[in-house]
């Protein structure tokens, strides 16, 4: 402890280094502002770009009842909880909802009331997620929980929402998002999306064996139960594997997968985009694409980035489950509105067009639609009664109408597309297809829904 005689000099040089560091930071920050739009931000095709720019003001006016009139009443407070930690950043979801709200507020609001979104971010600490929920209700006085993009939230806050009579709308990951009365998701989540990919391998590729591999995170058994049930119903053997993430030895993983699947089998992956990419690239480097019948992947693989990063050998070899309508292929009024809002209000949506912002759009849109049905004061009771009452809301982005309802569990999105890479883009190879009721949870949902007179399948 005696070596600080030249402390002042050290401090000076330290300050200098800090200043240089700050400069570098500032420089990088400004130069890479636009570049943080990392992956799936493919600019809309030229024709759509011009049409959207020309029609921006008029087309975003579709999100409110009084075009061009700013809402000035007392705000309606909405809350959301989203995962944001180094490496796992779901903030595109709430950012898109904020963009939609900004659009609504600029066009008359909800009956003159502007919408205000309170965003609580968490770093996957359960206690923090629980505290965030209480903060939203007790301090921020929100009347609805909408747009939760979170790894853990459904598990942790379910009993709290239930005790308050809150019906949350989310795009989740935890099993409770699809298995409780108080949560309904616009996405399918890992289990049903994996179901979709396995189902395609079984039905369309006639795989004689399935190897289902996923990242080793809590709840893998719950996810794998779906694909296992589907394979069993088709009397096809299935091997369930998990891999610790981050994967550092992708080549070994790739070899192991093809060895397990054999030439007539299919490998189905359930990973985040970076991990899926690492495995698929290793397969490509080792030249193993054709050693199995086909490759499958749950929704996260559905990005043009992946299609571009992988070579042409994957075209019509890799089949990805897609939970929402492809924004590039479709251009109905709703898709145009989505793109227009993204262009005008969505500067903070780093990923641009993609499933995160599409789900954010849907969650905001359904909420606003439900709020329009509320008469009188906007309280937790009145608003959540309206949310629970959501029935058959139609959207171009989903295969089927979306319903909440007073049900013991909700899987309102249970029909999917299948896409495959083709010349650097993901294209649709199979239109809306129901996830098989061989998955007991899906069967359970249809049973519960029909008992309550709710249409739950594809119409």
């Amino acid at each position: 402890m005696s070596k600080y005689k030249d402390a002042p000099r050290v401090r000076l040089s330290f300050a200098l280094a800090a200043a240089v560091g700050a400069m570098i930071l500032a420089g990088c920050g400004s130069s890479s502002k636009s570049t943080s739009t990392t992956t799936p931000a493919p600019a809309p095709a030229p024709s759509t770009t011009t049409s959207t720019t020309a029609a921006t003001s008029s087309s975003t006016s579709a999100c409110g009842s009084k075009p061009g009139v700013a809402a000035t009443g007392t705000p309606i407070n909405i809350g959301t909880i989203d995962t944001h930690q180094p490496g796992t950043d779901f903030t595109d979801g709430p950012n898109m909802i904020n963009a939609y709200f900004a659009c609504v507020n600029a066009n008359g609001g909800v009956d003159g009331h502007p919408l205000k979104l309170f965003v609580e971010l968490d770093q996957t600490q359960p206690a923090q997620v629980a505290a965030a929920a209480k903060q939203l209700i007790q301090s921020d006085h929100v009347v609805a929980i909408d747009g939760v993009f979170d790894l853990l939230e459904c598990t942790i806050d379910q009993s709290y929402w239930k005790s308050l009579g809150i019906f949350e709308m989310d795009a989740g990951i935890a099993p409770e998002c699809w298995s409780t009365p108080n949560s309904a998701a616009v996405n399918m989540g890992p289990r049903y999306s994996s179901d979709g990919a396995v189902q395609y391998a079984l039905a369309s590729e006639h795989a004689s064996k399935i190897v289902f591999v996923q990242s080793n995170v809590p709840g893998t058994g719950y996810i794998a139960a779906g694909p296992a049930a589907l394979a069993k119903a088709s009397k096809v053997p299935i091997t369930e594997l998990t891999e610790n993430v981050p994967i550092t030895d992708a080549s070994s993983v790739a070899l192991n997968l093809v060895d397990d699947a054999g030439s007539n089998g299919s490998v189905v992956l359930n990973f985040t985009p970076p991990e899926a990419l690492v495995i698929l690239q290793a397969v490509q480097k080792l030249g193993l694409e054709d050693r199995v019948k086909s490759w499958g992947c749950s929704t996260p693989c559905d990005t043009d980035f992946l299609a571009k990063a992988l070579g042409p050998k994957w075209d019509h070899k890799l089949f990805v489950n897609a939970e929402a309508t492809d924004a590039d292929d479709h251009n109905g009024p709703e898709m145009q509105l989505y793109k227009a809002i993204l262009a005008k209000y969505g500067s903070s949506v780093a990923g641009g067009i993609g499933s995160f912002s599409q789900f954010g759009f849907l969650l905001a849109k359904f909420l606003v639609q439900a709020l329009d049905t509320v008469h009188g004061a906007y309280t937790i009771k009145s608003v959540n009664t309206a949310i629970e009452g959501i029935k058959d809301y139609k959207s171009e982005m989903l295969c089927q109408p979306w319903t909440y309802g007073n049900l013991a569990l909700h899987i309102p999105n249970n029909a999917d597309y299948t896409v495959t890479p083709e010349s650097g883009k993901m294209i649709t190879v199979q239109g809306c297809t129901s996830i098989s009721s061989a998955d007991p949870q899906i069967a359970q949902y249809h049973k519960v829904a029909s008992a309550h007179g709710v249409a739950s399948g594809l119409s």
Binding site: M1, Y4, A7, V10, R11, F14, A18, H84, Q85, P86, E120, L121, Q123, T124, Q125, P126, A127, Q128, A130, A131, A132, K134, Q135, Q138, S139, L151, L152, T155, I156, S159, P175, E176, S179, T180, N216, V217, P218, G219, T220, G221, Y222, A224, A225, N244, Q441
Partner: protein, 361 residues
């Protein structure tokens, strides 16, 4: 937050060479500490918003973890880069016992502490032959190994078997809390009391024979050996004590979180922990509380101001460099000095300005 830190620090800072963390030469200081503790236990939980009640629970828990690491680093000179893994062990053991039995919570905490202590000591026993850098690196290796095991076995979630994990569970049951501390405010009181007990336990060691032995080892291990101190025994003792309090903290963490995930016990967490412990100050027990505040309250504050958590990582990195270069005693020592310097500067300025302005205070 910093204001509280300054107040407490100002009254208790001591030169690094002194073995004691608290000073009891007068009766005033223990009285102040007791009053502070009473305030934290009785008044604070009722005035804080629920959000910060939870943050303070985490502060209490992580202060204990920082206390354990600070003991190793500051008192004995052993750097562990794997304390998050030790905490995970404690939490795992506690969760397993809580799901399997209906034992009273204090007993569970004690068991978690003791089992973690045995495991920590087993790890420490062979590692103690290694010199500083090697010891730090081997704890990093062991923490890496524990992380892999935990990622594979997962935390107990009410399942059966030894591991108590049911991967197929659709509804995961909560980990129970003590019956007297089921609400958040009650659990905060409970955590603070447990934390205070842990601090007293460590203080009792620091101020008696083990503390003197550690101080001797820290100054010069060869001199300590020559003086007839069983250095291996006392190093192991430090490992055992640090593991025990960390295990107890793990038990509290299980109850406070109610769900445990392997996401929360990464190697990066161990490194961040070392960073905040160094920043808080390793020569005073107050440093552990500051470390807890830095690690658990600051992120929540930044969160509510909409600042990205990445800035915190950067801050902690700069903090490590700053502490190692210029302020080895950490914030607990640095902030009062800086404030005193600032005060002198302001007074000097005031004096210089006063004649010119013609208004003398």
């Amino acid at each position: 937050m910093s204001a509280a830190g300054v107040e407490t620090a100002d009254t208790t800072t001591q030169p690094p060479s002194s073995p004691g963390g608290f000073d009891t030469r007068t009766l005033v200081r223990p009285a102040v500490i007791a009053a502070l503790l009473l305030f934290v236990v009785l008044a604070l939980p009722s005035i804080l918003s629920t959000y910060y009640v939870d943050a303070m629970i985490q502060v209490a828990i992580w202060s204990i973890v920082a206390l354990g690491l600070g003991l190793l680093v500051g008192r004995v000179g052993l750097v562990s880069l794997g304390q998050a893994a030790v905490l995970a062990l404690g939490a795992w053991v506690a969760a397993r016992i809580l799901f399997a039995t209906s034992l009273p919570y204090p007993l569970v905490l004690l068991a978690a502490g003791l089992i973690t202590m045995v495991l920590g000591t087993l790890v420490g026993l062979p590692a103690l032959r290694l010199s500083g850098l090697y010891l730090a690196l081997i704890t990093l290796m062991l923490a890496g190994a524990i992380t892999v095991v935990l990622a594979t076995t997962n935390f107990p979630n009410g399942g059966h078997g030894f591991l108590g994990y049911n991967g197929s569970a659709v509804h995961i049951p909560q980990i129970r809390r003590p019956s007297i501390a089921n609400t958040d405010t009650a659990f905060l009181r409970y955590s603070v009391i447990v934390a205070a007990l842990m601090f007293l336990l460590v203080l009792a060691h620091v101020r008696t024979r083990p503390g003197r032995a550690w101080a001797a080892i820290r100054q010069s291990e060869s001199a300590a050996l020559a003086a007839g101190i069983n250095t291996t025994l006392y190093k192991l003792w430090a490992f055992a004590l640090a593991s025990f309090v960390t295990g107890v903290a793990g038990g509290l963490l299980a109850g406070s979180s109610r769900y445990l995930y392997s996401y929360d016990f990464t190697t990066q967490e161990s490194i961040t922990l070392l960073a905040v412990v160094l920043m808080g100050g390793i020569f005073s027990l107050w440093g552990a509380i500051i470390a807890g505040l830095l690690l658990q309250l600051l992120p929540q504050l930044l969160n509510s101001w909409g600042v990205s958590p990445d800035w915190l990582t950067i801050l902690f990195g700069i903090g490590v460099l700053q502490v190692l270069l210029t302020a080895p005693a950490g914030l607990v020592d640095q902030v009062p000095k800086d404030l005193a310097r600032l005060g002198r500067l302001l007074r000097g300025l005031a004096r210089r300005v006063a004649p010119a302005g013609g208004r003398s205070p």
